[in-house]
């Protein structure tokens, strides 16, 4: 069980956080390649949303009369599998994407993802010096994330 890396992409497709946790597993790329990767993934994610072959069922009647409801929008790419790794993508309500690269046998990635998102909310969003949509440079977030992932990788 190994978590290889975490990438956070802002709502405009820019790379704001990039961290690898274990040596092996994934190739090391240059910073420029990571930026390209983030931008590409952002575009592909939008396309995968549009490719939905399933017809949306007719909208359910509103629970409260007069209340407007809209169907759940189709989600984009959630899990990608390759021979060497597995990529889990979590898209927040505001469009920030969390990409977690793990080995192919990793279980309960949802739980890990949720915990990472909680840490992001606690140590990045609540940091008064953090500028929105800018690269994340928060020591507290780095530290907590390291210790949490180390715990998973050593399990």
């Amino acid at each position: 069980m190994t978590v290889f890396a975490l990438i956070i992409i802002n709502k405009a497709g820019g790379l704001v956080y990039n961290r690898s946790f274990s040596d092996g597993g994934l190739n090391k790329l240059s910073t420029n390649d990571y930026l390209v990767l983030a931008g590409t993934f952002h575009g592909v994610h939008a396309i995968t949303t549009r490719l939905n072959p399933v017809k949306t069922p007719p909208t359910a009647p509103a629970p409260v009369p007069g209340m407007l409801t809209r169907p759940e929008p189709p989600s984009g790419l959630e899990v990608l599998e390759s021979e060497n790794f597995r990529l889990q993508c979590f898209n927040t309500m505001t469009g920030t994407k969390f990409l977690l690269f793990t080995d192919t046998t990793q279980a309960n990635v949802d739980v890990t993802m949720r915990r990472v998102y909680e840490m992001y909310s606690d140590y990045v969003m609540k940091n008064p010096f953090y500028q929105l949509e800018m690269p994340i440079r928060c020591d507290m977030f780095d530290r907590k994330l390291s210790s949490y992932i180390r715990e998973i990788n050593n399990r």
Partner: protein, 158 residues
């Protein structure tokens, strides 16, 4: 298990075969649409299918390159899943790409795509002496045996 559609792309990035199985309103009924290149009677659906094929090619091409970059040259992109559907990918050594869209609960279809390549593509398209080497606009793929075999194979899985 539901299979929505199936695409073949050649090494020139062209969509040489596509077929969709759309569950119709009547229970147990299935409607199928086949497109080879730009040949289709219904103008509107053919454009839609053509656009979808281009989008799918762009997606698998980008994801395959991303996977190769991160996982090394021997790594291969297998599938991705969204909340609504799952896309399976298989690439042969000659850069022929097979893509299949199914529902999310389906397990890996890589062996199924491999079977289609071995048992249908090689048997009915490659071994056909009348079939051209390059399938420009879907030439040679629109072949009764291949289409019938594929339809039977897919319906057998569903």
């Amino acid at each position: 298990m539901t299979i929505y559609s199936f695409y073949i792309f050649d090494r020139h990035t062209e969509c040489i075969y596509s077929k969709t199985w759309i569950p119709s309103e009547a229970p147990g009924g299935l409607t199928t649409t086949t497109t080879n290149g730009a040949v289709s009677a219904d103008r509107r659906t053919s454009t839609k299918a053509g656009d979808d094929a281009k989008l799918i090619f762009g997606t698998v091409f980008s994801l395959r390159n991303m996977v190769r970059k991160l996982g090394g040259d021997d790594d291969a992109f297998i599938s991705y899943r969204t909340g609504q559907y799952k896309l399976h990918f298989y690439e042969t050594a000659s850069n022929l790409r097979f893509v299949m869209l199914t529902d999310t609960a389906t397990l890996s279809m890589r062996n199924v795509l491999h079977q289609i390549y071995i048992n249908l593509w090689v048997e009915y398209v490659v071994k056909n002496p009348l079939s051209p080497v390059e399938h420009r606009g879907g030439d040679g793929v629109k072949n009764e045996l291949f289409e019938y075999g594929l339809d039977q194979f897919i319906r057998g899985l569903m």
